[in-house]
């Protein structure tokens, strides 16, 4: 995806999206290295997986906030968006800490896991709100619309998977495969948006509302 953005001269405009994708690639290489050297059940791999996951989730959160900044760029409210984003992130971290504060052992690992889960849900709600704002403001940039919708699909699949994992923990074998499978969708759809859609492409949001008019 980063290569596609670079080829289409969109690297700087969508910088946080590209940073997330580049970080995702580096983390995947790191995970493979830990998996190869220490094995799937090793604490080294589990810790690396957990900490890298929360890091990636935070990068993705900022990628989403950068999409907010793009949608609201004409209103010149970037500083308010940034401040609100940081406050929400701190609030989510405090909430995650309050949830796991009772458990005495491995408090940092529990915190990291909880924060990652909560950020996925916060990301889903924020993407939903952003989609509402796009429809309300009649945003017409096709590429931006597709980037937001792809992110919405990604967040909702992950939030649903996490909820299912909590509801049916015995099916952990299934959930292990579902997450990586759907994880491929985001880079693919983002790459498609960069490769196929020029920045100038426009689209009427009235055509995207699901309810027939």
């Amino acid at each position: 995806m980063v290569v596609c953005a670079l080829a289409k001269h969109s690297l700087r405009r969508y910088l946080f999206l590209n940073i997330y994708m580049a970080a995702s690639f580096v983390v995947s290489v790191g995970r493979f290295h830990f998996l190869n050297h220490f094995g799937l059940q090793s604490s080294e791999y589990v810790y690396f997986y957990l900490y890298s996951d929360v890091l990636l989730t935070i990068f993705l959160y900022f990628a989403l906030i950068s999409l907010y900044a793009l949608v609201f760029d004409e209103m010149k409210v970037q500083s308010i968006v940034r401040l609100a984003a940081v406050l929400l992130l701190v609030g989510t971290a405090l909430f995650s800490y309050s949830v796991i504060a009772e458990s005495a052992d491995k408090i940092l690992s529990h915190f990291v896991f909880e924060l990652s889960q909560n950020l996925y849900f916060v990301g889903l709600v924020l993407t939903y709100l952003l989609w509402g704002a796009i429809l309300k403001l009649r945003e017409t940039r096709t590429r931006l619309i597709q980037l937001v919708l792809s992110l919405g699909i990604y967040f909702s699949v992950f939030a649903a998977t996490l909820a299912l994992r909590n509801l049916y923990p015995n099916l952990h074998v299934v959930w292990e495969y579902v997450a990586p499978l759907f994880g491929c969708l985001l880079p693919l759809s983002w790459a498609y948006a960069f490769l196929r859609l020029p920045e100038e492409a426009r689209l009427s949001t009235a055509r995207l509302a699901v309810i027939p008019r």
Partner: protein
Amino acid sequence: MMATGILLFSLAALLQFFSSYCRSLIAASSKQPLSPEVKDVTGLTKGASGDDFARVIQLLHLCPERPEDRSSVQAIGAYFRMINFLRATVARVVPSLRAWTEFERAQCAYFAAVALDRRIAFSRDMLAQQMDT
């Protein structure tokens, strides 16, 4: 209880995001005119209808695949099945929904025809490159 709530919200959001994403793909391709050859091959001379979708997809699978449109074609395939399900269930009792599902199915068929057009052009380019070398 909390997990069930999150699951229901996520699934509702997923459905909405997915439908809107597919409609954005369709809308982006609906502006592109079809070449006379594709109109001829697919039989879409008087516009597309939902019943053409399966045939156009079959033709699409005969052409060499382009990696960049694989995921979008699959997404539209899933959207078409979803619309078919709606048509066979809820749309039977809601007439306005029936007209809407027919329109959406036709749009899916047109999207597939545009993808076919691109694949044919892609195959031609590849062949031309091979002839040159």
